[in-house]
Symmetry: C2
Subunit: 248 residues, 2 copies
Amino acid sequence: MRFVSETTANGVSERLFCLGDIPGVLWQSADATGARPLVLVGHGGGGGHKKAPMSWAHRLVACGFTVAAIDAPGCGDRLRGAADKMALADVRHRQAAGENVDPLIARLNAELARQAVTEWRAVLDELGELASGPSGYWGVSLGTTIGIPLVAAEPRISAAVLGFASGENLMEPAARITVPVEFLLQWDDDLVPRDAGLAVFDALASREKTLHVNPGQHADMPSFELDSAERFFTRHLATKHRPPSPLH
Amino acid sequence: MRFVSETTANGVSERLFCLGDIPGVLWQSADATGARPLVLVGHGGGGGHKKAPMSWAHRLVACGFTVAAIDAPGCGDRLRGAADKMALADVRHRQAAGENVDPLIARLNAELARQAVTEWRAVLDELGELASGPSGYWGVSLGTTIGIPLVAAEPRISAAVLGFASGENLMEPAARITVPVEFLLQWDDDLVPRDAGLAVFDALASREKTLHVNPGQHADMPSFELDSAERFFTRHLATKHRPPSPLH
């Protein structure tokens, strides 16, 4: 892992890194010492970028966490490869011809998630000491398409906030998740049907899982859900992995 | 309204009162001065008592609220009248005979709720200055069977935490509720079917409404839902009705 830049704003240090061709960012308290629990933040789809959730990351740092994010394959600063471009052109072509492209998109998403899971795990390995305590994962939409198989596979993640996603691909890994989950749905989601979203929540094997439903479409998450996520991570991570300095 | 006793424990003054034949209790900070937002707390069914949510009321007082509770008709310290006893005996008799008593119970609950709404509103009138700011309502199960028509009817209530209840009686008043609501469901509720619970949430006309679903049966509400309710009231009541002394 190679750190390529460091800036500091409002008491938060932001370090950009590369691991192979995976660009990432690490946000830490500029003045805190000692280990702090880590939260991995997965960006959304539709041109999502690792730094899109920056203000959310700053809040988590203010609450006593270290935050890491990476660009998913083909997202953010990562150029789409020739194969990705061809697959996307194929989807658009079939869509224009009136074909139902949902199964094709599901297959592409599953491939993307498989690659992203491998990449997140490699990043956790490289973060070493920073990822030595229990870590959390936050990500909705594409962040959950990737997050569900990641949380299922990764024993270092011990609490997750997920949501705004559904699909057959998610059902099997969801059933392997046993850590506490806060799962979000938008009740009038234009991309995730209610029943499909509820099915993912039902599939989670976690003893502690809680569903938060709010009115509105895919992009309408109310800001108080970030307040809730912050307390969720504080409850599950901060008390288990107490840093030498007080969290607040 | 006649205050009949006053005790103080852990910085919380508890005053029992009677308004006609309605027994109630008022919990206030023993040392705070000035007006504080009021939260009405409705107890559950099955022999519920106004003081059953006492530790919850103490927490709300510690967060800067004044809390009031009353015994619902036929509950707590209130003796069941002859008519109530006859109605209950009738239910048991029909149930023993294999009859579906759901419609009968629904009608009795609707009558109980009608009476309880009138009583709560009379108590609010009598609380005078204490109820002069925006108030909140918290109550699940029977506390929601009563709470939904109460919140629909009472303009002094500007935020409510409700849940664990369903039924045709609740649909019409739910559709008249426009204040922020946090609505709770237990996903394996032995008394409230999922679809019927979701229908009540759907019926609420509130622009801000949020549904919290947790696994488990009717009595299994996780304690973090009280943390959430506390913050919900702080968000909606404390900022609008700022007390002269800081809340925390």
